[in-house]
Symmetry: C2
Subunit: 338 residues, 2 copies
Amino acid sequence: MLSERRLEVLRAIVQDYVGTEEPVGSKALTERHRLGVSPATVRNDMAVLEEEGFIAQPHTSAGRIPTDKGYRLFVDKLAGVKPLSSPERRAIQNFLDGAVDLDDVVGRTVRLLAQLTRQVAVVQYPSLTRSTVRHVELLALAPARVMLVLITDTGRVEQRLIDCQGPFGEASLADLRARLNSRVVGRRFADVPQLVQDLPDSFEQEDRGTVSTVLSVLLETLVEETEERLVIGGTANLTRFGHDFPLTIRPVLEALEEHVVLLKLLGEAKDSGMTVRIGHENAHEGLASTSVVAVGYGSGDEAVAKLGVVGPTRMDYPGTMGAVRAVARYVGQILAES
Amino acid sequence: MLSERRLEVLRAIVQDYVGTEEPVGSKALTERHRLGVSPATVRNDMAVLEEEGFIAQPHTSAGRIPTDKGYRLFVDKLAGVKPLSSPERRAIQNFLDGAVDLDDVVGRTVRLLAQLTRQVAVVQYPSLTRSTVRHVELLALAPARVMLVLITDTGRVEQRLIDCQGPFGEASLADLRARLNSRVVGRRFADVPQLVQDLPDSFEQEDRGTVSTVLSVLLETLVEETEERLVIGGTANLTRFGHDFPLTIRPVLEALEEHVVLLKLLGEAKDSGMTVRIGHENAHEGLASTSVVAVGYGSGDEAVAKLGVVGPTRMDYPGTMGAVRAVARYVGQILAES
DNA sequence: ACTGGCACTCGGACCGGTGGAGTGCCAGGG
DNA sequence: CCCTGGCACTCCACCGGTCCGAGTGCCAGT
């Protein structure tokens, strides 16, 4: 195990590098941090840290920069989560309180997060499978055409058109609507399938086909929409990325456009607590030089979706984590209120 | 007016510059185009073109590059719209045909357009004000809480929560729903206000307040949602922008995030026919070095929304315009079918 | 009106020298 | 045993100078 001081050296290196964006040398370190030892000693420590793979030199006779492994150790052992200042908290509150509907909440959240962290923000829409049902509506658009509308407790609305095999009376429709709602309102989406399983049996023979069709579309919607929506903001912050732009920034932009990739990334994050994925831990090649800080948020205790930021591995982890956590909490509150 | 040959020289300059991204000199021009004159003559023509403001030199003794004014002349007089190759047409067809709902259509369109033009694509959702009403639904979520759902002929769905002053019976609600639909279904959104104006008068005194509230929310929705949604894609193509990245790309990314700006930009485009805004013509500062090619699309003859691309002023105008036009047509077809 | 020739300009690439920051190692001291 | 100061070494970044070529403007000649 590394000695206390070596860990301190690593912390100092990470902090300085994040601040200056330049490799940090032994002399500069002793000047800017009260390590209580000489540069020579620090050099020895650095040699050890390098051997262990926590730091690296871009080339001989240059300062050191942290490796992914170094950042990992930093966030796991050396860094806390920096709480936001109270003006910041107030700003979040004010900004989010003005939202009028779910789209607006999500939109504001993503802008807020991007502004706060000065990085790329990613916010996932509340998931259907984890939400509960507020209302199910069936509309007869035409004799053999029904629209299904699903409303969640988080305010999300999904609609589907259904072509029925045969005509379906308004009375039967109202009947189905009532029975459906009495069974599923307030229940979690995940539980819906078994709750409606035996519903067709209780209908007249002639209507069973249509009822089944409607139900199958309903279930389909639940599954399909596991393919979630998400919103991205703050891509302009990518320009603060590094010096050698085109090569660094391009794959990141490409990755950001593939929502599937991002959703998978967010999905891998733990449900509760914050997840930090650093550099190559991300699997996706384009994001090899980025870190992802993600956290779940929800209207209750349980997470209904994730949000987070994508930034260079060289980022201010404590500050970013603080901002992400704070935003997630406030969004949760807002959703719970509505 | 400029002589025929001088125009030809300008065309050649634009074409070469778009291809090579480097200032083009007189000698290179005569070699790559059959102008039938010597470099010296071309130089004289260039001097004239420069004096008129169509081209400029980055510095003395460098080649010329077109100015915004030069591009303007090029697209107005010298360039046609390049039709797509038939494999491209087929690819569009195939790609768009797979779409399942409006979100999917828009999503696919933006990706397609970005890929085809290798630039940033912008697609506006079909506007409410120009669409027609397919259905209006009112749902009683709670005794004094109603949800309003609007469905358009383009498949778009908008919903709003309404807090009523007092309880509102299911019967009254059904009544309102029926009368509302009988008046507005099939009508254009823009006409809705006057169609429902006198509706409250035909209700019982006690219900009039609530009816008015519902109607005012309906009208509000029509107005508010003139603030349209749009989707952006292909931002990774910005990396092909120029050589001096951070400064060029940053304001563009910022502008792209301000949907309001983009919507205004699209709004300024003519309803029918294609609009090309070049460089400083764009008004918005961040887009001073970009051109915007936009066109309306719709399910019928009339445009319900716009789509287009944003790219460097140095872009392949004929090709881009061809792609934009073709995509708009196909999207229109798809919407008409659904 | 076009052309060939010529002198001129300017930026970009190439080059070698220099300075400084940083390192590794080692011998000496607490 | 760990820390320290000293020293030689390395390598990048910067600077100034030179050279080259592409491109221009102008002019005299056809």
